[in-house]
Structures are given as structure tokens and as C-alpha cells.
């Protein structure tokens, strides 16, 4: 065991300069090319005196550098298996704890919200208008506004998203335009929601003169979640076996007939799941709605798409921005309402997915 490997193993210990100095073969073999190799010539002998090695290392910087790769063994191999096993256990525990951090914070958040808002959450809270007096304030217009926006957003984004997905999966030729559309959708998915809000403000509220209305918010949110719906629908359509299409064609169906009667019914649960999840994102968004101009005090429930509006996330933001503790409690209560709404939607999505999985 006098090869460079042995030297490498020896040196991975905690840190021991004497041993590093005692290394005979590794560095000294290289030293033979040095001009002043008279001393180096003795080196290959197994018992080269340690002081000589140290002295040479000290004298010539080049030799020191030549030795560096050996000292920093790239494999960092430690033969003490017990130690490595202990490190492995510690590492596993750390990874487990890191995973738990997220879950614990989620639990803390939910407990905090419920503790703060539970006492405010009454039937009257759902059925009253916002007020300067916390005791009389409620979320009725915000809840109604959220449902309005939810419905309109779904009406706009669902056909657009599913249509685009069908076109991309079933019609699109493999050319540059198609690739541009696909790349563009991937990039749109990463655009911050507030930027969609700017688009909504400049385009829908100002240029199209729709005003600060339910419709402007719904259009903005529809564009925001469009990439999510498209990508989810594409996945669902891709999962339909090609034999289904070929079977339909063999019976004389046109392309659209095969899609309409065979592919879409099979892909629909997946499409619906993706759409519901996307809509639940839209319903929780506050930033684009701020840009489009939701109102903090709304004394009526919107009755047409062109009415002024507010939504639950905006109402929460409005209340949490006030310094008084009572309004913070209202914000927590409204958060519970919002979370309940999201939970219902996600539950529906999971139910659909499970039903779909059972069928296949």
C-alpha cells in the first residue's frame, strides 16, 4: 500500500500536517522532472525522511502546488464506515425536519387564521355590507363579487383555453408558428399577476372603456389563468389513446367529429380538474384586481357585468391594511370564507380526478 491511492486515503483524516509531509511517493514521483532532483532521486524509497519532504515543500513553491491535488482528494473518501453511517442518519433527519417545516408553518397559519377570525364568522357576517364599524361589517358584496368574477372568468377562459389546447394537440401543423404559440404560452405562465393587472388597467379599463367593472376583472383574470388551462387541457387530450381517434376515423368521422364525440368526452374530467384548479387560483388573486380597480366600500351587490365590484381577497387586503385589531379579525374571518371556497373547489377537482382514474 504505497501507491498514491493509499496516500490519498491517509490524508482525508480530520487534518494532520505531519502526515501530509510524510507522503513519499505521490508528489516526489512528479518531482523527478525538477532540475534539482538530486534529493528527489532518493524519494521513491519507502522510507524517505519526512523532514526532507517538508523542507523541499517549504523551499520550492512549485512543489507545494504540485502536491495540492493529492491533499484535496476529490473523492473525499472516508474509510470509517460507522462515521459515514452516522452522518447519513443525521442527514436523513435534517431532510425530514426540513420537509416538516413547510407543513408545520401551514398548520400554524391555519390555526392562527381560525383563532383570530372564528368569533367574527357568523351568518350575519356573510350577509352584511362593509362598514366603518367592525361590529357591523360583512362580506356580502365581496362574496357576491367573487362569485360573479368566478362565473364570468370561467365563461371566458374555458372555451379559449380548451379550444387552444385542442388546436395545439389535434390541428396544429409542426411548424414555426406552432412552436411560437407553445413557447409563448410557457412564458405567459410565468408572467407576474400584477403585470396582467397592468394590462387589464390599460386595455380593458381605459382603452376599451369597460371601466372598473366585474367584466374588466373577469377578462384580466381569464387571461391570467389561460396558460394554466391550456397546459392542463393539453395533458388531458394527450392522455387519450390514439386508437380512439383512429377508430372514429375508420367509421368515417371527420376530425372534428372524432374530437367532439370521442376525444373530448374522455379528456373532459382532466380538463375540468385543470380548469377548476386554475379558477381557484383566479379567485384567490388580489393584485390584478387592485389594478383593475376593486372598491373597498361597496354598498350594493353587483347586478350586471358592468357594475363596480369588490372580491374577497381585496376585502381582506382592505381590512388588513387598517391599524385596528378588530379589522384584522374581520380579515381573518374573510380569509376563512375564502379558504372554504377554495377547499370546496379543490375538493371538486380531486373528486373528478378520482372518478376519472377509476374509469380507466
Amino acid at each position: 500500500m504505497t501507491g498514491p491511492d493509499a496516500a490519498g486515503i491517509e490524508q482525508t483524516g480530520p487534518s494532520n500536517p505531519p502526515r501530509a509531509g510524510a507522503t513519499e511517493s505521490g508528489p516526489t514521483d512528479r518531482d523527478t522532472s525538477e532540475p534539482r532532483s538530486s534529493a528527489g532521486a532518493q524519494a521513491p524509497m519507502p522510507v524517505a525522511p519526512a523532514p526532507a519532504g517538508v523542507a523541499r515543500g517549504g523551499a520550492g513553491g512549485r512543489v507545494e502546488r504540485g502536491r495540492a491535488p493529492v491533499r484535496r482528494d476529490p473523492t473525499r473518501f472516508d474509510p470509517r464506515i460507522g462515521r459515514r453511517a452516522t452522518f447519513g442518519t443525521i442527514f436523513a433527519i435534517v431532510c425530514f425536519l426540513a420537509t416538516m417545516v413547510g407543513i408545520l408553518v401551514l398548520a400554524t397559519l391555519l390555526i392562527d387564521i381560525f383563532r383570530d377570525g372564528w368569533s367574527r364568522l357568523t351568518f350575519e357576517f356573510l350577509n352584511r355590507f362593509p362598514s366603518r364599524f367592525p361590529a357591523r361589517a360583512g362580506v356580502k358584496p365581496a362574496l357576491a363579487g367573487s362569485i360573479w368574477v368566478l362565473g364570468l372568468t370561467a365563461l371566458i377562459s374555458f372555451p379559449l383555453g380548451v379550444g387552444t389546447a385542442i388546436w395545439l394537440e389535434e390541428y396544429a401543423p409542426d411548424n414555426r408558428f406552432t412552436r411560437i404559440v407553445e413557447t409563448n404560452i410557457a412564458n405567459l405562465a410565468g408572467v407576474p399577476s400584477i403585470v396582467y393587472g397592468i394590462l387589464g388597467l390599460a386595455l380593458f379599463v381605459r382603452a376599451f372603456a369597460i371601466g372598473r367593472s366585474v367584466l374588466a376583472a373577469a377578462l384580466t383574470l381569464a387571461l391570467l389563468i389561460l396558460p394554466v388551462i391550456i397546459i392542463a387541457s393539453q395533458e388531458a387530450i394527450k392522455a387519450v389513446p390514439n386508437s380512439i381517434r383512429l377508430g372514429a376515423y375508420a367509421l368515417g368521422a371527420t376530425r372534428w367529429e372524432a374530437i367532439r364525440h370521442q376525444v373530448l368526452p374522455l379528456a373532459m374530467p382532466g380538463i375540468m380538474t385543470g380548469t377548476i384548479l386554475a379558477l381557484s387560483r383566479a379567485i384567490g388573486e388580489a393584485a390584478p384586481v387592485i389594478m383593475v380597480g376593486a372598491l373597498g366600500f361597496l354598498a350594493f351587490v353587483p347586478s350586471s357585468p358592468l357594475d363596480n365590484f369588490t372580491v374577497i381577497p381585496f376585502q381582506i387586503y382592505n381590512w388588513v391594511s387598517r391599524p385596528q385589531l378588530e379589522f384584522h379579525e374581520l380579515a381573518a374571518a374573510a380569509s376563512i370564507v375564502l379558504l372554504a371556497l377554495l377547499l370546496t373547489m379543490n375538493g371538486a377537482a380531486i373528486w373528478l380526478r378520482n372518478r376519472y382514474n377509476r374509469k380507466l
Binding site: 408553518v105 401551514l106 404559440v181 380569509s335
Partner: protein, 297 residues
């Protein structure tokens, strides 16, 4: 069943309509870029781009106003860096746990729960940051401002954990089993296989998830608007109140800035900066992800 000619005509109509739907997404991008460029152009006709990009004070309402975007930019970067400090180690460790250690049943239970973190509305996180995390920080470090970067960073970091953990876990699960077996056969322990074989092999996928998560943190609005404050400050002190680009946009839009004023146009100039930064990061992340896919899929 309708006549053949009518069916053919319908076929063409449907194809055309669907193509039209697809163009909407292109129009959306053109709309975003167009709107941002159009109003930014009129902003930059009044304020020089050099002053905008290098100025160190952001006071659009003062007389004379200053339009240096650096305080907003450092605000965004400070908070994103803090969020990354929380999310990257936690997310990566969680991904290693889920991919290498967890029993499949545990993974199927833990992964969706972790993903709920990304589904909680950001206003709710904002509420949590302001009313729960900030008081704790102020108890530990009394000099902390009521609105501060640290609490927004921590909560945002928690929010983006699933982005890191899910995408990294996907990348690590895609590393071929043969690589792991080769490492084991050389005598590596489980932790060595995880950290010296799987993580390096999945590195480009992991990096993609990191960039995407940071880009998400820069673009996030509500947590910072609620918890980080409204004071454009060129500071790196996380216990100070800062204003991010996103918070500035949201707060200005609410302030009913008169249409056509310079203040109104700042929304678009700052929005353009934000859009450019996040787009660049998303492209980088996509690039890293494609490289990873080329290697293993």
C-alpha cells in the same frame, strides 16, 4: 348525419375558430408588451432612462420628483434573496427527503400537503406575515419596523418551498436508477448516493426550479404590499421597511393617480422593468430545464 359537403365546411370553420382561439395567447403577449412599451415610452420622454436605471432616490410625488428605480429594485431583490435563503435549502432538503428517503406512501401524502402551500392565497400569507411573524420578530429584535422586509421574506420563502421541492423532486426522480446502483456498488452510503450522485445528476433541473422560485418571489405582490411597507429605501437591512416594484405598482394604482400624469406612467415603467427581469429568469429556467431533459428523458 349531415351531408358530406356541409360536414367539410363545418370542419374548416371549426379549424379556423380554434386557430383564432390560439391567437388570443399571442395577442395577450403582444398586449402586455405593447401596453408596457407604449406608456413607458411617454414616461421616458420625460425622464431619461439613465436617471431611471441609475438614480438612487424614488420620490415621484416630491417637487422636484426623483425617478431612480434602484431603491425599488433593491427592495425586490432583498426580499427575493431572503425568500431564497428560506426556500432553497428547505425545498432542496424536502426534495431529497421525498425522492430518496420517503416511502412512496409517505411521499404521496406529503407532496400534496406541501403543494397546498403554493395554493394558499397570497393575501392570506400577507395577513400571516403582518399579524403573526412580525410580532415574533419584534419580540426577538425590538428595533424591527412594523413593516419590514424580513417577515415578508420569511413568509414568501415558505410560499415558494413547493416550487423548489416539487420541481427538484421530479428532476431527482428522473435520474436513472442505474446511476444510484453504480454508486452503491462502489460502496457509497445512502447519503453519499443522494448528495454526490443524484443531486449532481439532477443539478440542471434543480437550478431551473431555483430560478423559477426566485422569479416567482420577485413577481409576488400581496405579501410585500401588506407586510413590507411603502417606503422606497435603498437599504439591505432586512428589519427596515422597504418597497418592492410590485408593491409600488399596486399602491400607486390604488392611489387614483390621474390618468396621463407622470405618476400614472411610472406604473408602466416599473412594470416593464419587472416584466423584463421575470421574463429573463423564466427563459433561463426553461433553458436549464431543457438541458436536464436532454440528458435523461
Amino acid at each position: 348525419m349531415a351531408g358530406l359537403r356541409r360536414r367539410r365546411r363545418r370542419e374548416r370553420t371549426v379549424g379556423g375558430v380554434l386557430l383564432g382561439f390560439s391567437i388570443v395567447s399571442i395577442l395577450t403577449t403582444l398586449g402586455i408588451v405593447g401596453v408596457l412599451l407604449f406608456d413607458s415610452a411617454s414616461f421616458f420622454s420625460e425622464v431619461s432612462p439613465v436617471e431611471f436605471l441609475t438614480g438612487t432616490t424614488w420620490t415621484p410625488l416630491f417637487r422636484p420628483p426623483h425617478f431612480g428605480v434602484l431603491p425599488l429594485l433593491t427592495g425586490s431583490l432583498l426580499i427575493a434573496a431572503g425568500a431564497a435563503l428560506v426556500a432553497l435549502p428547505l425545498g432542496l432538503a424536502a426534495a431529497i427527503f421525498l425522492s430518496e428517503y420517503a416511502h412512496p406512501r409517505v411521499r404521496n401524502l406529503v407532496k400534496p400537503v406541501l403543494e397546498i402551500l403554493a395554493g394558499v392565497p397570497t393575501v392570506v400569507y400577507g395577513y400571516f406575515a403582518l399579524t403573526f411573524v412580525t410580532p415574533i420578530l419584534r419580540a426577538i429584535w425590538p428595533a424591527t419596523d412594523v413593516f419590514n422586509a424580513a417577515s415578508a421574506s420569511i413568509v414568501m420563502g415558505i410560499m415558494i418551498i413547493p416550487m423548489v421541492s416539487s420541481l427538484s423532486e421530479d428532476a431527482m426522480s428522473a435520474v436513472p436508477r442505474s446511476l444510484r446502483q453504480a454508486a452503491y456498488s462502489l460502496g457509497a452510503t445512502k447519503v453519499e448516493v443522494a448528495t454526490r450522485t443524484v443531486v449532481p445528476a439532477a443539478l440542471s433541473g434543480i437550478v431551473a426550479s431555483f430560478i423559477l422560485a426566485i422569479s416567482r418571489a420577485i413577481g409576488e405582490t400581496m405579501i410585500v404590499t401588506i407586510a413590507a411597507g411603502a417606503q422606497p429605501a435603498l437599504t439591505l437591512n432586512p428589519f427596515h421597511s422597504v418597497q418592492t416594484m410590485t408593491a409600488y405598482i399596486a399602491q400607486t394604482a390604488q392611489g387614483e393617480a390621474p390618468h396621463g400624469s407622470v405618476e400614472y406612467r411610472t406604473i408602466f415603467a416599473v412594470g416593464l422593468t419587472l416584466f423584463a427581469i421575470t421574463l429573463l429568469m423564466n427563459i433561463l429556467s426553461g433553458f436549464a430545464m431543457r438541458r436536464f431533459r436532454e440528458e435523461y428523458e
